[in-house]
């Protein structure tokens, strides 16, 4: 193990290490702690210049109540859910199929198609922006959730295919050969043999896509406009112009907007990290 395990070092270093850890964590999270502090303060504290002292009153309920009941925030949150969940399902479903096709079969052009997916996934969004916006407008899907969902599914399929294909590649190929000897149809091999083995990959991809899409801002601004379809990342800017310079409310708003992916991460930590670090170890 590297660095040297702490149990094998001197007592002084052990104690120092134990003291460094919480200190480093607080420094690391300082900007966030500041925002959390803001979100429970009253507007009076800001007026009197009490930015960093103790809050004079605890206004957490009032501030968060305002976010939920006096703004469009709940609508934006709902939009985000209605955009994120279908994208998650669509992209994972499509990439199960592409991953299976590219991971199991040997055919001409296999690597080419695979690399097309990877390359497309790395491309800057801006080169797609004008044509995709045009396409969405022409389909009558501008400023709709469906328009965003369709694009997200298509784009995320690139990353998901990379992930799924490498995962399926690592499965024991003998299983498929044995099934073929038995004369099982290829689609049944996919459905009854490969798919059940892919459960960990499905879980990992689902949480990753959830976070990616929930956090998307660029496409939300390009393809949607108002509270009817905008997800929370784009909605938060209009929320902030509603409560301009009221830092306690803006802070509470951004904390609310950030909670779903954070909750997803803490609940599904193992899958999340397994997904992000795929390929980091050979």
């Amino acid at each position: 193990m590297f660095p040297t395990p702490i149990e094998k070092t001197s007592r002084t270093w052990q104690l120092t290490y134990q003291a460094i850890l919480p200190f480093a964590m607080i420094v690391w999270l300082l900007p966030l702690i500041a925002v959390a502090m803001f979100s429970i303060k009253s507007s009076a504290d800001f007026a009197s210049g009490n930015y960093w002292g103790m809050p004079s009153t605890f206004e957490g309920f009032v501030n968060y109540g305002k976010v939920f009941f006096e703004s469009d925030m709940p609508r934006y949150m709902l939009n985000s859910v209605l955009i994120t969940v279908p994208t998650m399902i669509g992209a994972v479903a499509l990439s199960c199929m592409t991953g299976f096709a590219l991971g199991i079969y040997k055919f001409k052009g296999n690597l080419l198609i695979f690399f097309m997916f990877i390359a497309g996934n790395f491309v800057p969004f801006q080169i797609l922006m004008v044509p995709v916006r045009d396409l969405t407008v022409n389909m009558g899907l501008y400023d709709t959730k469906l328009g965003l969902v369709l694009f997200h599914i298509a784009f995320q399929t690139g990353f998901c295919t990379l992930f799924m294909r490498n995962f399926i590649r690592a499965l024991p190929f003998e299983l498929i050969e044995a099934a073929r000897v038995e004369g099982i149809a290829e689609w049944r091999i996919f459905w009854f043999i490969v798919l059940p083995l892919m459960k960990p990959a499905l879980a990992a991809l689902a949480v990753l896509i959830f976070t990616f899409i929930w956090n998307d801002y660029f496409w939300a601004v390009v393809l949607t406009q108002g509270p009817d379809a905008q997800p929370v990342t784009a909605g938060i800017t209009s929320f902030n112009s509603q409560f301009v310079a009221q830092y306690h409310l803006m802070s509470a708003g951004s904390i609310v907007a950030a909670i779903p992916p954070v909750a997803m991460f803490f609940l599904m930590q193992k899958h999340f990290i397994a997904g992000l670090t795929l390929g980091a170890v050979k």
């Binding site: 690391w28 966030l32 590219l102 079969y105 992000l276």
Partner: protein, 309 residues
């Protein structure tokens, strides 16, 4: 009695699909995704190239202008130059996320009580959206209300208005971007460190290697796959930086924080009328900048694929 000849029973002829099943199935499985991906990703790339040779407001007819957009772009467009240099700043400084992430990973790669919680806490800024991170940092930097200046004052230093100062604003935004990116690199290295071969480490220890020499000669070579991924995602992230700029400064002050991705968006969907052709030309330049790296990544992956067979 007739003797049944033991000729084989006529085999029911298998259908065309059955006979070619293994050859056809992959294409059937690929079809929906390839169509989707082509319509929304591959074809638009070429459409953007096409549009970049036109003048177009996004609604009416496109007017062919040849290379006029590019000539204007490369012939002394101040905004373009600022954006391009800022892109290079992003590229170099964003790479700091890799050594920073490695340092934190080395700090946290221990087995003490509660270490798992520490790892999660260090990682979770990555899960926040860039919009939220951008807002959090722009409040952190506020000259009057911000915590940063409160701390500076506590140590007896003057206040700085990072996002209001054209010479500092870009660095302030990059620092905000480094926060989640470092977290990502950290988690890659933690996973990598977990898989380091303990026997090699012990052997090196017996040979008297320790500290930085050990890190450089024994550990880092084993972390190569993690470093590769960290490099890929950091480069892509640096060139994609849009959200931070849009949220934190909206390109200002005096346009000093623009990058190509932001400038392109501004030109195409600006309040002064949509200039899609010029925007597309900027996007093409950004695309070629990215293509250098994409080609390198694909080439590395191709080598690995060949090695795997």
């Amino acid at each position: 009695m007739t003797v049944m000849a033991d000729t084989p029973k006529p085999v029911k002829p298998r259908g065309w699909y059955k006979r070619n099943e293994i050859a056809i199935t992959p294409f059937l499985f690929l079809l929906p995704a390839v169509i989707f991906f082509s319509v929304y990703v591959i074809i638009p790339i070429f459409q953007s190239f096409w549009i970049s040779f036109h003048e177009w407001d996004g609604l009416g007819e496109k007017t062919w202008v040849g290379t006029a957009n590019y000539e204007r772009l490369l012939g002394g467009d101040r905004k373009f130059e600022v954006s391009f240099w800022n892109n290079l700043r992003w590229l170099f400084l964003y790479l700091l996320a890799i050594p920073l992430g490695l340092s934190i990973a080395l700090l946290l790669n221990q087995k003490v009580r509660g270490i798992r919680l520490y790892k999660s806490m260090f990682f979770f800024p990555f899960v926040l959206s860039q919009v939220v991170v951008g807002l959090v940092f722009s409040w952190f930097y506020l000259p009057r209300e911000g915590l940063l200046n409160a701390i500076l004052q506590f140590f007896g230093m003057g206040t700085v208005n990072i996002l209001g100062d054209p010479s500092l604003a870009t660095y302030g935004i990059i620092a905000a971007g480094l926060w989640p990116q470092t977290a990502y690199c950290m988690i890659l290295y933690l996973t990598g460190l977990n898989a380091v071969d303990p026997e090699q480490v012990e052997a090196a220890r017996l040979d008297g290697a320790k500290g930085l020499r050990m890190l450089w000669h024994v550990i880092l070579p084993q972390l190569k796959p993690a470093t590769f991924i960290a490099f890929v995602v950091t480069i892509i992230g640096a060139l994609r930086s849009f959200d931070f700029i849009a949220v934190m400064t909206n390109g200002g002050p005096f346009g000093s924080t623009r990058v190509l991705s932001f400038y392109m968006f501004e030109e195409s969907l600006s309040e002064f009328g949509f200039r899609m052709g010029y925007g597309a030309a900027i996007a093409v330049v950004l695309f070629f900048l990215m293509l250098i790296f994409i080609a390198y990544f694909l080439w590395s992956m191709y080598r690995d694929e060949k090695g795997a067979r």
